[in-house]
């Protein structure tokens, strides 16, 4: 862990710090060398903050689910926060994000307002999908967050199409497509990788390999378990990254996002990670042992990053307390917002099936 470094070298001229409510672009060239350490610290703390925000948001969501305030399917990302947070650093405002049904983390890391997210899970009209989508279908056009796909593998062709649109319009944007290890078995994975490679489309395939597709372990659903290697079958590159290490995720994603942005075609990253919680709120977890889960929890991406930050003298106890407080406050505020949110009138049931014209 201590071998990690916060490396801003070799990054394109602008990089993105994702704040709670907005995204800032900082031109690295304008930063005085003396300020760089501050920027680094600031960035590192942002990463921590982002991960904690997701963790606490979901812990709260689980509570609210037990209370019946949130319903439907709820898939928690707890344990995998380093992936969404680290990867999302690599994308600019014009880049596009496609995610799965386990996408609270991606939405938050992308800057989808936490209020609109919570309201969505309450099914309120001020939710990010007007309460029509729920936990599995978060959308935010302004942040180019394209959802929210609950059919495993179903988002990949969409991502390929978004990238095709950018290529046809000669825009230097990247489409980031998140999906699980389970999706790798679906035909659409194969078809999408082939098409993206064939047409050299700017898609970054980001596999969150948490070792299980629901209750089916990787080795029970993949005849060949090295996912990164599968890119070779389509003539492009893939690599595996430690998905429990936010800095490793950020670094790798930045590097290959640039590569993709340069028009060199798609790239596959496999993030090796683990889901600490059940698949969904219904899952009795018969398929794995408590010990296995405990072993992985020792590698908690937040706890280990905190330890490392402390070792590097980048995190004071007071700072952590401040971050925790800010997160708690933000979540409480989001709940208030959601609870106060209006319900869509039943008369509007049929709205947004088709585009209202004129």
């Amino acid at each position: 862990m201590s071998s990690r470094s916060l490396d801003l070298q070799g990054v394109s001229t602008t990089f993105t710090l994702t704040g709670e409510f907005e995204m800032q672009n900082i031109d690295i060239n304008t930063i005085a060398q003396s300020d760089l350490q501050a920027v680094k610290q600031n960035h590192a703390l942002t990463l921590l903050h982002e991960m904690l925000r997701i963790r606490r948001f979901e812990e709260k969501a689980a509570e609210l689910y037990s209370l019946g305030m949130i319903r439907g399917f709820l898939h928690l990302y707890i344990g995998e926060e380093a992936v969404a947070v680290g990867a999302m650093q690599a994308f600019g405002q014009q880049d596009r994000i496609v995610a799965t049904y386990r996408e609270h983390g991606h939405a938050l890391a992308r800057g989808v307002p936490i209020r609109s997210l919570m309201a969505e899970m309450y099914g309120k009209a001020n939710g990010c999908s007007r309460g029509r989508g729920g936990s599995m279908h978060l959308f935010d056009a302004g942040r180019r967050f394209y959802g929210g796909y609950a059919i495993v593998g179903g988002g990949l062709p969409i991502a390929v199409g978004l990238a095709l649109a950018d290529k046809l319009q000669s825009r230097p944007y990247v489409t980031a497509c998140f999906f699980g290890d389970g999706a790798v078995a679906e035909g659409e994975f194969h078809e999408s990788l082939n098409l993206a490679a064939l047409w050299k489309l700017p898609v970054l395939f980001l596999c969150e390999n948490n070792l299980y597709a629901m209750g089916t372990a990787l080795a029970r659903h993949q005849s060949q378990t090295d996912i990164a290697m599968k890119a070779q079958g389509y003539g492009f590159q893939g690599e595996a990254v430690d998905g429990m290490d936010v800095l490793a995720v950020e670094k790798a994603t930045r590097r290959v996002a640039d590569w993709v942005r340069q028009g060199k075609g798609p790239y596959l990253l496999e993030f090796r990670t683990y889901r600490f919680r059940a698949h969904s709120m219904y899952d009795p977890e018969l398929y794995r042992t408590k010990e296995e889960v405990e072993r992985w929890k020792e590698r908690c991406p937040i706890a280990t990053f905190q330890t490392w930050l402390r070792q590097q003298q980048l995190l004071a106890d007071t700072t952590l307390a401040q971050i925790e407080a800010a997160v708690d406050h933000e979540i409480e505020d989001a709940i208030v917002f959601a609870e106060a949110g209006p319900s869509e009138p039943v008369e509007d049931l049929l709205r947004d099936v088709y585009t209202q014209e004129g």
Binding site: G123, G133, G134, E186, A213, L350, V353
Partner: protein, 319 residues
């Protein structure tokens, strides 16, 4: 015993009594089934006969067809009808056609089970009711068990059938309690069934809408309207004669179907009743279906989108 337990009992009985039977699908083994229908079966029958598949609906449904061709009696669980869209080519173009296009050389004794329906706030991609689509396909049979007895009996019947049978288990029914004779065997899968007698109106439904319809009938009874409730049970081949017998008595029909209205299977039932029972009808056949909207997540919107007891009662009163 619950509907879920009845399915499990059926699975267990089938696996015990016929070595050619095996179960495959996503998470049927170690997880115990997304709806816990197969919990315990892996332990009893082992991983050769209770097989977890990768996420690859088209291929494991196709493999079920192939295994049936090869002499087995596969039970394929497609977790839900929503994902079965990925396998529809295998259903329409292989399961349903192989017998015919080989000139009758092959039978495909395949049973495919899947959960269907809405009502749990699972939103637009997880709430489909597409059994009506399946019922459009000649070459397969389509069952919609709505009672605990049918949950087990229809599965056993499907396994005795030489042709591909698709069983739609409504997700809201799994926890439903009901009677089941310990040694009840295969159910009849050729006929609809009158679930409640009545002379004033015929309510035809199937699957997840049966409990709602029966409840509506109770409410109507308190309003002095005696509804006859007919459970279609089998959508293909459809038993129209049971409907007609009832219509000849009541002269009024309401069909309750959780699918979107346009192109619903309710339309087929309506059309057939008109075609064959026109002279018995005192009023046009009415349909209560889902609103034509991808299922919204919010509870009040989902409730408004789906057929409910209240609207059934109101529709009958307005006939």
């Amino acid at each position: 015993m619950t509907y879920r337990e009845a399915i499990r009992a059926g699975l267990r009985e089938a696996l015990r009594s016929d070595p050619r039977v095996f179960l495959m699908g996503e998470d049927v083994g170690r997880y115990g089934g997304a709806y816990a229908c197969s919990r315990g079966l892996l332990e009893e029958f082992g991983p050769e006969r209770v097989r977890d598949t990768p996420l690859s609906e088209s291929t494991f449904v196709g493999a079920g067809i192939g295994a049936a061709l090869g002499g087995m009696r596969p039970i394929v669980e497609v977790m839900t009808v929503n994902f079965s869209l990925l396998a529809l080519d295998q259903v329409v173009n292989n399961a349903a056609t192989l017998r015919h296009m080989s000139g009758g050389q092959f039978s495909i004794p395949l049973a495919v089970r899947m959960a269907t329906g809405g009502g749990r706030q699972l939103a637009a991609q997880h709430s489909h009711s597409l059994e009506g689509w399946y019922a459009h396909i000649p070459g397969i049979k389509v069952l919609t068990p709505a009672t605990v007895a049918d949950a087990k009996g229809m599965l056993l019947a499907a396994l005795q059938d030489p042709d591909p049978v698709f069983i739609f288990e409504h997700a809201m029914l799994y926890p439903m309690e009901g009677e089941l004779d310990e040694d009840a065997g295969a159910a009849d899968i050729s006929q609809a069934r009158v679930r409640r007698q009545g002379n004033d109106v015929t309510l035809i439904t199937f699957g997840g809408s049966l409990p709602k319809t029966l409840e509506a009938a109770e409410q109507l009874a308190s309003l002095e309207i005696e509804a006859e409730v007919v459970d279609a049970r089998v959508l293909r081949p459809l038993d129209i004669s049971t409907f007609l017998t009832s219509v000849a008595k009541t002269h009024r029909v309401v069909i309750v179907d959780e699918a979107w209205r346009t192109g619903s299977f309710a339309a087929e039932i309506s059309a057939q009743i008109m075609e064959q029972g026109f002279d018995h009808l005192d009023a046009p056949v009415a349909r209560i279906c889902a609103a034509e909207v991808p299922m919204p997540y919010a509870k009040h919107l989902e409730e408004a989108a789906l057929p409910q007891v209240g609207i059934i009662v109101k529709t009958v009163q307005g006939l």
